[in-house]
Symmetry: C2
Subunit: 205 residues, 2 copies
């Protein structure tokens, strides 16, 4: 990997007094920019301006950092589905709550969700994350299938494909959404609901 | 990167008589599985069962392989927009043709489009590809904005956001579509058109 560029450089203040969360945030940023496999512990410690042993004080290994980041993203996404399940008995209402909640998690935890969405399954940590992600995707597909039975989702589109398209649209947000940019995250959630349920075409009365 | 696993191993027949296209196909598969940066020329030659010099006979460098794959994907995607522009004067018709055509290119050239969508801009080849991709995205956004003026796209969703959501949905297909699987690529294009324009909710008469 190339030497750390200015935009990945850690803020000078507080150095070397990073806490665990700050180390995590910088590491995830570097992983997203250069790829996890292409990033060495030496790259991370250079970017952070920490010695390797200071870095190991916070995390025992590079894969421990990855594991923590992926679990953060998965915990937050699973909580969205758990909450929606607890709060709504109709699948159609659960689906709406999940779409809004998933967009909120993506925009709030953009770096760790970006990392999660790029996981390919190399190594144990990535494999475990993929297993959790597949289980999560199956829960989503089940809600979409149930919402289709309730009549919220048209029956001429396969429920599994519909689920992949809705959440594909949501996941694509990590590719372009930038916190503090012109797009309001709340409004984005409503736009995605509107586009996925009502479509982009104006409905004629 | 880990040693080549059995599923990336090149077919034994014909070895070492690979042609350039076969070398390209195997290399793109390895890049997608392990990441471009994490793949060395030694990894590629080991997976192909070729000596490095035999590999260099086909491509002068690892980045030449990447460049060729990214250009293949970009050429095909740009051709879709060029054709739609030549054939349809209404932006609404162009948009429909572009959605169908983009899904066709994604499913036909899945490996090289997957590689393109994961490019982060490390190095000259990736940077050039990102520049072309941004120009392509701007052409799409312009078609969506024009289709909105024609009344095809509802005016309560920002045209730039609408464009990102439609093509985000399309791009997400690379994450799960598998050639020869249960999902027909033509039908998928129609589903994406239906979902993005009409929405998933049944229209009440």
């Amino acid at each position: 990997m190339a030497k750390s560029s200015s935009d990945t450089a850690a803020p000078k203040r507080g150095r070397p007094g990073y806490d665990r969360e700050q180390v995590l945030a910088v590491a995830v940023k570097v992983f997203n920019e250069h790829g996890y496999d292409a990033t060495s512990v030496a790259d991370l410690s250079a970017t952070l301006g920490l010695t390797k042993s200071a870095l190991y004080h916070h995390f025992e290994s590079k894969s421990a950092i990855l594991e923590r980041a992926l679990n953060d993203a998965l915990d937050a996404l699973e909580a969205v589905v758990d909450d929606a399940t607890a709060q709504h008995s109709l699948a159609s209402d659960r689906l709406r709550a999940i779409v809004r909640g998933a967009v909120r998690v993506l925009t709030e935890k953009l770096p760790s969700v970006t990392l999660l969405l790029r996981v390919r399954g190399n190594g144990d940590v990535e494999t475990s994350a993929l297993v959790r992600r597949r289980a999560f995707d199956q829960r989503l597909a089940a809600v979409v299938a149930e919402a289709q039975k309730e009549g919220l989702i048209r029956d001429d589109v396969d429920a599994a494909v519909a689920s992949r398209l809705i959440f594909g649209m949501i996941n694509s947000v990590v590719e372009w959404y930038r916190p503090g940019g012109p797009v309001d995250p709340e409004e984005l959630g409503e736009d995605i609901l509107r586009v996925s349920l009502d479509g982009l075409q104006p409905r004629r009365a």
